[in-house]
Amino acid sequence: MKKVRNIITVLLAVVAAASIPYFFINQESIISYLQRVFPLKVDERYTGGDISAEFIDPYGDDNGDGSLSYPAYEQWSTEGTLDLLKFTIHKPVTDGKWTSLRVFQQLDLCLAGFSNPLSGAAGFSNPVINIYIDIDGSAGGSTKTAKSRAELVSFSPLAPWDFVVSINGFSQKADLSSFDGSYHSSVMVYSSPSENSIYIRLPLEKNGLLPIMDGRKVSYYVVVGAYSQLAQGNFMNIKTRGSSRLRPRVFDYLSPDGVDQHKMLSSWNETSRSYAELKPVTWDPAQSESNSIANEELEKLKNLAEKELQSQPSKKLGEISQENLKGTALLIEYFNYSYFKEAESEADKILSEEPENAIALAYKGSITAMNGGKASSVIDSVNLVQKAYEIFDKTEEVAVTDEEKLTLYMNRGNVSKSIPESVFLKSLSGAKDFERAAQIFQTMDGENSSKAASALINAGECYIRAGKNTAAEVCFIKASSISSLSAADRYKLALRGFIQTAPSN
């Protein structure tokens, strides 16, 4: 008995020693398994509270009433810096930790683009954002903007605002004031450039915002303008030829469901000299509905995705050979129909004649990484993946045209997405590759917009692997705003809650 126990102990020790490297190699899978069986979350007193509502705003609607475009200066070259994608309301926190506020409510603003060309203290410099809050319905408040002739809009008399938070990137503190000027305070502004997000925490203790704690209905108007230090309320003056003096200085506005932003921001009246009237988004905890997609809709989308997969054409090797394709076209055809051995020899053939052929190099990189996956030893595997990235680096040096760059980004992105993150740490660079690819696809016509959506979804999945959930959401929102989605992509987005219904036809 004692001998058996000793043998078991020795065996256990040997197995443990042998398992350590495999543990580290497979740590990512172990973590994802653990996350499923033992899901943890960071206490909401640190993170800003559980989410009580999320409002998604369409991607690409940062043109105000439809006629605005960003200033032409270089500082405005980053796309989407005025494009609000998501507004998140957290549940109030009553015992904040590691923060100067004990009782607060966190609001998150997620933008499509993020940049800080003018070195704003809060980490961004292009947008100016006003959040108007109505906590008592039509009982009291104002329908005019906080600063006259700033945004050039008015607010619904059914929900006149009581408090406004004015945020700009040049101060780490936003102004919080009441409609009648009786209360004025500052609110900390935090930003996360890697997540395209701005966070604010409203102090609830010492002002009239305390009723938010009751769980009552609250309405929000979120307006985004272009920052200008000298302009009224910091909302940049918009001057276009023949433009009305009543045109709102608002590039993006969080419009409620069923309301057309362009229509609403164009609703000013020259005759009565009245500004465009905005409607708020409203969060009513008593009537909170699940935002998740219905099971039958999801099932429908799944079936459509499966049908799409089954209808994918397949070709036999002989058929491809008979097509009289040559060079990179033949290589791509082999690769697309999963004849990787043939694709590799074709790539080698092209590269022996043209060592700097970017397309052949990009595919060669992918195939090398795939060979890494099939290698008999782990060390060979790692070496082959490293070699694949060397080939990709070379491709980057020689890729000039959009097609070449696209091929590189898609190939490298796919490799980054499929290799173990804990060993190679490539998810983040993979996400960037897919985003670049999506940008190129979007500049092309026709079917390419659905490819852009696929690339964005892949970028989002890479961001999730890298732990950047908000950045992933930005990609998913961008993808869901594309109309020509494939069934598979629609299903993927529905699973994540970014699409609510299956297409009717």
Partner: protein, 392 residues
């Protein structure tokens, strides 16, 4: 029967097997094969690790070479860690924005303070990322669990990236200026009291009190930005704790003072040690009761009762091997846990591979290699760049 010389020769040859495996692991986890200066740095570090393990294995002076590794690891960890922080959030200081963004690395010392809360409510009372970050919660928890099963409290001498500081400062002086070899029981068990206090207070306040108020290593990792009196006071405590517990006391006592008296994670690992595979054993018959092990033990884990009665050190033993190296009677050795009597070394030179004295340093060094390889080569690279004038 084999002659002694022949046995030794076979033993040397047999030891080539773990050496070869270790070289393979070092190559796999350390070498960055195609990246210019980083490749050179990784090769330097890889060779350094190979040499250390070879010396550990063939000279049987495990403690000495482990110590060299451990001190160098601690010194190499911080520059890269701080640069990582600066790259991620632009500064070393921890601001409220970083907390909102959960950009705070999850350190292993937080584990005992958060793990009970996590088990009960599935929430972590620390603002770190759950996954995807280089020091995320799940990543650190899985590493801790794996290490604890194999090494138990051995973490503190083979894996901890802070311990090397004390190990280093405790070796600066040749003689003890303050003798605490036989401390009062209250001092020896103070870190358990500290652990209990921190777990209770953290549970009640839902906050990682140790990180907020007591951590001596804030000074060399990420200090909180001083914004009010509270943060000012905390910073004073951090500075005092670092110099008092990590520099002055180890220098005076030649003991790892913070690890053995103060660190709640150390106390926690002592409890977790029950599930680990290895421990240190004392052959009470062979022992000459000279008491050298008490004097040399850096974590106050040896008492007279250990070598007279129990036959093993206290649970606070970090398996550093100092007592093994120093015991002239050869009475102390690594052993498997829960064995009642000290294990007799096999006379068969082939069986040596399965002995704890080979298996423990082998397993522990794998953890050391993998964890340190994420940081040390980058620091060597930085040093190389600095020497060549590449850093401005």
């Amino acid at each position: 029967m084999l002659t002694k010389n022949k046995t030794n020769l076979i033993e040397y040859i047999v030891k080539i097997i773990p050496m070869a495996i270790m070289m393979w692991i070092i190559y796999f986890f350390t070498i960055d094969p195609h990246n210019g200066l980083a490749t050179a740095a990784s090769w330097i570090y890889g060779l350094y690790l190979c040499c250390l393990y070879a010396l550990m294995l063939f000279t049987k002076r495990t403690a000495l070479y482990r110590r060299i590794f451990f001190i160098s690891f601690a010194l190499m960890f911080f520059p890269t860690f701080i640069i990582n922080l600066i790259e991620t959030r632009g500064r070393m200081g921890l601001s409220e924005a970083d907390i909102v963004n959960t950009e705070t690395p999850f350190c292993h010392i937080v584990i005992p303070i958060t793990v009970i809360q996590a088990a009960l409510s599935k929430t972590i009372i620390f603002p770190a990322r759950l996954s995807g970050h280089y020091a995320s919660i799940y990543s650190m928890l899985t590493i801790w669990l794996a290490t604890s099963i194999v090494l138990g409290r051995g973490w503190c001498s083979w894996v901890c990236f802070y311990g090397g500081w004390e190990e280093g400062t405790s070796r600066l002086s040749k003689k003890k200026r303050l003798n605490i070899d036989k401390p009062p029981e209250q001092l020896r068990t103070f870190n358990y009291a500290m652990l209990l206090f921190l777990v209770l207070v953290s549970g009640v306040t839902v906050s990682s009190i140790y990180c907020e108020w007591f951590c001596p290593f804030k000074l060399v990792t990420e200090y909180s930005e001083i914004t009010d009196f509270k943060s000012y006071l905390a910073t004073i405590i951090f500075i005092c704790a670092f110099f008092g517990l990590v520099v002055v006391m180890p220098f005076l006592t030649k003991k790892r003072f913070q690890c053995s008296i103060f660190c709640p994670f150390g106390a926690f690992q002592s409890i977790v040690d029950y599930i680990s595979i290895y421990r240190v054993s004392i052959d009470t018959d062979k022992c000459k009761k000279c008491g050298k092990c008490i004097s040399i033990c850096p974590t106050l884990s040896m008492t007279e009762a250990c070598y007279k009665e129990t036959g093993h050190p206290l649970r606070s033993c970090t398996k550093c091997g100092e007592c093994i190296d120093s015991c002239q009677a050869g009475a102390i050795s690594y052993d498997f846990n829960h064995r009642k009597r000290a294990r007799k070394e096999s006379s068969n030179p082939f069986m040596i591979l399965l002995s704890p004295s080979i298996l423990l340093p082998f397993s522990a060094f794998i953890f050391s290699v993998i964890i340190s390889s994420s940081f040390a080569p980058s620091t060597i690279k930085l040093a190389m760049m600095a020497l060549s004038g590449g850093i401005k």
